[in-house]
């Protein structure tokens, strides 16, 4: 705690803590910089700090040694509890983003009982982007007004108290101390720098891009990043590792070891992941970026929050209206810099400079650490020593916004949207037409996480550069389950609409199609090799089936060498040759998934014939320009 959170603070205390946990390393004097983290393994530092928590040393504070107000001391602990709770809730929601079955009746609609996309619904940056792109606020996104209201009262508490991604960075900024993480270096690293403007420029650029028709800001929204990285990379990777470990445990052949391994697997499958391993298209890229961003905390504490986070910038703009804020009494400041040691937002809490309200995460560490009577948080503070608006030049802000606005048309001169739509861009069922889809999809990966068949994947460049990490169905990995509508159920922005089973399967109406299946007759067993098969027909879920078979008796050569001078031995075999009826095919991809031709399936789905588009069609009867898209 000593590094970033100041409750047990001051040199004397640190020495006492170090002495209790590791007597050999105890500093002999009081000149050690306050709250310096231990060298070596982070876990050693953790242990030492845990020791300090259990056995707090005598509280002697630097300078005048005035204790912080009791309210502030309590609030700092409340903040830690709220942070842990919000991160826990976020992870719990993420673990629950998937269908694990229930005892509901067979007729009950399969929906998730919890609002697992809740953190995204409360995200004002998502709300603002989609408002600018679609001119509407979709359903639950109205909750984001709540976080905005909170910001108007108490500033960026979302960043310091609620944001699960922020809490991760707070945590890693604490356990990843580097040479910048100690004493004077840490003080320097926690001062306000010009690089913190970058997030505002990013935010303006993303808002302008939304106005231009694409909510690419989701690439940088912290909640989207957290869902995407943890859901698509961290959880599957952890599952893979555990499966290797329990698999080798099962190899031992010892019954008790196998039992423990099985029970571990069962427990994790029922709580954290699913019963099968999930794989995500190019998830390595998502995972590496996540690890890299977390690792940046080693060099610049809370690098993400201070420099890149567009949601933080968005809230920072509104923090100027906050009723709650800081007052400073510069005269009393002794320049001990304890406030800076613990500062999260790099918002200049120290004496002699103005406090930066737009940067402050409202963590209250500075007042808690201050041994003099300099820093006071209160409602309706005087703003003599505060700057409330972002320190961004108007010209640069305008220029970056303009850059954001032109990036979308520029991206679209590449062929994939207008001229040469990629056949692999199969959007999940219920998706709106591609242009509106790009106006709505924030790449949060909720749909990919929830899909029970691992069918939905983050696109790499299949959907163009502006379609990076938007959802596409890759049927070879998983097909779209016929009666499942969970992707639309969790979509926070309506890129995938909340459809019913009746709409999807077409009960009393036309079903929703996401593409069409095609046979590669050169690879299909009954077509080219006189071998019976039709697994595709068995799995075709529509009724009547979109795959129908033609019964034929065809010759097949016996797999033996013919006698010299004789014709090869032939026999007649009866096979069923599959065909697709494009009027019935819904593009679910079950056929492609189960085709036994392993490497490149003999039946595959492409996006053509998708219900949402009136141009990407095959059949004349589906070509209807009077139909709303």
């Amino acid at each position: 705690m000593a590094n970033s959170d100041p409750t047990p603070s001051g040199p004397a205390h640190r020495d006492a803590a170090a002495a209790t946990a590791a007597p050999a390393k105890a500093s002999p004097d009081g000149t050690t910089p306050p709250a310096a983290p231990a060298r070596g393994a982070p876990w050693a530092a953790l242990l030492r700090r845990a020791g300090a928590l259990v056995r707090p040393g005598p509280k002697r504070r630097a300078g005048s040694g005035l204790p912080a107000r009791k309210t502030i001391q309590v609030l700092v602990w409340v903040r830690r509890a709220v942070q842990a709770g919000c991160l826990g809730l976020f992870l719990y929601f993420l673990f629950q983003t998937g269908f694990r079955g229930s005892f509901a009746s067979s007729e009950a609609r399969v929906r998730l009982p919890l609002p697992v996309e809740g953190f995204l619904l409360a995200d004002p940056f998502v709300g603002a982007m989609t408002l600018l792109s679609t001119h509407t606020v979709y359903r639950g996104l109205l909750w984001s007004v709540g976080i905005l209201a909170l910001t108007l009262v108490v500033g960026r508490v979302f960043c310091g108290w609620i944001c699960p991604f922020g809490t991760l960075h707070h945590f890693f900024g604490w356990i990843f101390p580097s040479r910048y993480g100690k004493g004077g270096k840490r003080v320097e690293s926690n001062k306000t720098y010009a690089r913190q403007r970058v997030k505002y420029y990013l935010m303006y650029a993303f808002l302008a891009a939304s106005m231009a028709g694409s909510v690419i800001g989701g690439l940088f929204d912290p909640i989207c990043v957290a869902v995407r990285a943890i859901g698509l990379a961290v959880i599957p990777a952890a599952q893979y590792v555990i499966a290797v470990v329990t698999g080798s445990a099962a190899e031992t052949g010892s019954r008790p070891v196998q039992l423990v391994a099985d029970q571990t697997q069962d427990f994790l499958a029922a709580s954290v992941w699913q019963t099968k391993q999930f794989y995500f298209h190019h998830a390595w890229f998502v995972g590496i970026l996540f690890v890299g961003i977390l690792f940046m905390n080693r060099f610049i504490p809370r690098f993400w929050c201070r420099v890149l986070c567009p949601l933080g910038a968005f809230l920072g703009v509104f923090a100027r209206f906050a009723l709650f804020g800081m007052e400073k009494d510069h005269a009393k400041c002794t320049d001990c810099n304890l406030c800076l040691v613990h500062c999260q937002g790099a918002d200049s809490p120290q004496g002699g400079v103005k406090w930066r309200q737009d940067e402050c995460h409202m963590c209250l560490n500075c007042e808690n650490a201050c041994p003099e009577d300099v820093i006071k948080f209160r409602f309706l503070p005087n703003r003599k020593s505060a700057l409330v608006t972002p320190d961004t030049g108007r010209r640069t802000a305008l220029a970056t916004a303009a850059a954001g606005a032109v990036i979308i048309p520029t991206a679209r001169i590449a062929d994939v949207l207008d001229a040469n739509y990629d056949h692999r861009v199969i959007r999940p069922p219920g998706s709106v037409e591609e242009r509106e889809f790009l106006e709505r999809c924030i790449r949060c990966a909720e749909c990919m996480k929830v899909c029970p068949n691992n069918a939905i994947h983050p696109a790499f460049f299949e959907a163009g550069i502006e379609g990076l990490w938007t959802p596409i169905v890759i049927p070879r990995i998983g097909y779209c389950e016929h009666s499942c509508v969970l992707c639309g159920d969790v979509c926070p922005t309506g890129a995938i609409q909340k459809i019913t089973e009746e709409q999807k399967m077409g009960v009393g109406q036309k079903p929703i199609s996401i593409g069409t299946a095609f046979y590669d007759q050169g690879r299909c067993l009954p077509w080219s090799m006189s071998v019976p098969c039709i697994v595709c027909e068995e799995f075709c879920p529509t009724s009547p089936k979109a795959i129908w078979v033609e019964e034929v008796d065809i010759p097949k050569r016996e797999p033996v060498a013919a006698e010299h001078g004789k014709e090869p031995l032939m026999k007649m075999v009866h096979v069923q040759r599959p065909h697709v009826d494009p009027a019935l095919c819904i593009g679910c991809g079950a056929c492609e998934k189960v085709c036994p031709v392993q490497d490149k399936p003999a039946v595959y789905v492409t996006s053509v014939g998708e219900t949402r588009s009136k141009t990407n069609v095959i059949l004349l009867e589906d070509t209807d320009y009077n139909k709303p898209s």
Binding site: F99, R100, G101, S102, F103, A104, S105, S106, E107, A108, V110, A243, T246, G247, A250, A261, D262, Q265, D266, A269, T275, K276, Q277, P452, N453, E481, H482, S483, C484, L525, V531, P532, C533, I534, V535, E537, E538, F539, C540, P541, T542, S543, P544, K545, V549, Q576, V594, C595, P596, Q598
Partner: protein, 330 residues
């Protein structure tokens, strides 16, 4: 430049020697000499759960049909038909001993509701579980390796709730529950097998009778597809032999075919209520070949038309001439 000490020379030589010795030891121990080494032919691993005795007084094939009076009173209770059929075979106590771990294997292959008749009727499954517990089973496991997404199949088939309500342990198939086994069949050699089905004392097969576009009819013998993991989509290339291989691999204690509602076309998934027809029939027997030989007639097939029945008959797994068995219609 000073000479190093003798001690230092010995220490360095000793260290280098140890590393060399260790490397040589590991290399020798793990040396792959290449070339094909004859692996010992493994024994065929099969699971035969059949009873040895067959009391002469009892029927060998029981067909329970809802009578006209039951039909007149609305939809007849499938559970009553199951009870009647099992009682006619001599009661569940004949098959289950006290303390047995019993696995009930319904067909939970598809994400379909009971009305579509693609999965075994949940009431039939629940009644079999109840009878097994009444006969003294220690635990009854209900499980299947589904075709569609398992959680969805188990819930929407209604079997999860129905089986749980009567105390069964419902096991969802997960990757760690499959283990490679030597089936040594004609086409099935080394395959991942679903472990609950091979670690039981007794196994009761509770399939549903259905049309199947490739194998023509699916019920008892074809139900063992749900015992396999891996790439079972490849089995279709020789579906009849693979069914016979599987039926050789697992021979159940008892087979109870659910023909309460039968899928007549569009099999094995159906999807249209009109594809299925109410028949209010339960077939119970210890002979899985005879169960299918009798059952295929429900969808208008003859046993001779179905190659895997002939193979099962020739392999001695049972008889396709069900007429030769002691038949009881109740």
């Amino acid at each position: 430049m000073s000479d190093i000490s003798r001690r230092e020379v010995l220490r360095r030589l000793g260290a280098a020697g140890l590393v060399l010795g260790g490397a040589a030891g590991v290399g020798a121990a793990r040396w792959d000499r290449g070339g094909s080494t004859a692996t010992a032919a493994e024994r065929q691993q099969t699971r035969d759960y059949r009873l040895r005795d067959a009391p002469a007084g009892l029927p060998e094939l029981v067909v329970a049909r809802a009578g006209a009076e039951a039909l007149a009173g609305g939809a007849p209770d499938p559970a009553a038909l199951v009870r009647k059929a099992v009682d006619a075979l001599g009661g569940m106590r004949r098959f289950i001993s006290r303390g047995d771990v019993v696995v009930v294997k319904p067909n939970i292959g598809w994400d379909r509701t009971p009305i579509h008749a693609a999965n075994t009727n949940p009431k039939v499954v629940a009644e079999v579980v109840r009878l097994a517990y009444d006969a003294g089973a220690k635990s009854v496991i209900v499980t299947d390796a589904s075709c569609n997404e398992p959680n969805r199949c188990f819930q929407r088939s209604g079997i999860w709730k129905a089986a749980y309500d009567v105390g069964a342990e419902v096991v969802i198939p997960a990757a760690h529950r499959f283990r490679g086994m030597r089936l040594k069949g004609e086409v099935l050699d080394d395959w991942p097998v679903y472990t609950p089905l091979v670690n039981a004392d007794k196994v009761i097969n509770v399939p549903i009778a259905k049309h199947h576009n490739l194998s023509k009819y699916t019920a008892a013998m074809k139900n063992w597809y749900g015992a396999l993991g891996g790439r079972r989509n490849r089995l279709h290339q020789n579906i009849d032999v693979s069914i016979a291989d599987l039926a050789t691999f697992i021979q159940p204690t008892l087979t109870i075919v659910d023909a309460i509602r039968v899928l007549m076309r569009n099999g094995p998934q159906g999807g249209n209520v009109a594809d299925a027809k109410d028949m209010h029939t339960i077939i119970a027997t210890t002979d899985q070949v005879a169960a299918d030989a009798y059952g295929c007639q429900l969808i208008g097939r003859k046993p001779e038309e179905i190659p895997y029945l002939k193979m099962g008959h020739e392999r001695g797994l049972g008889t396709m001439h069900w007429q030769n068995l002691r038949l009881a219609e109740v």
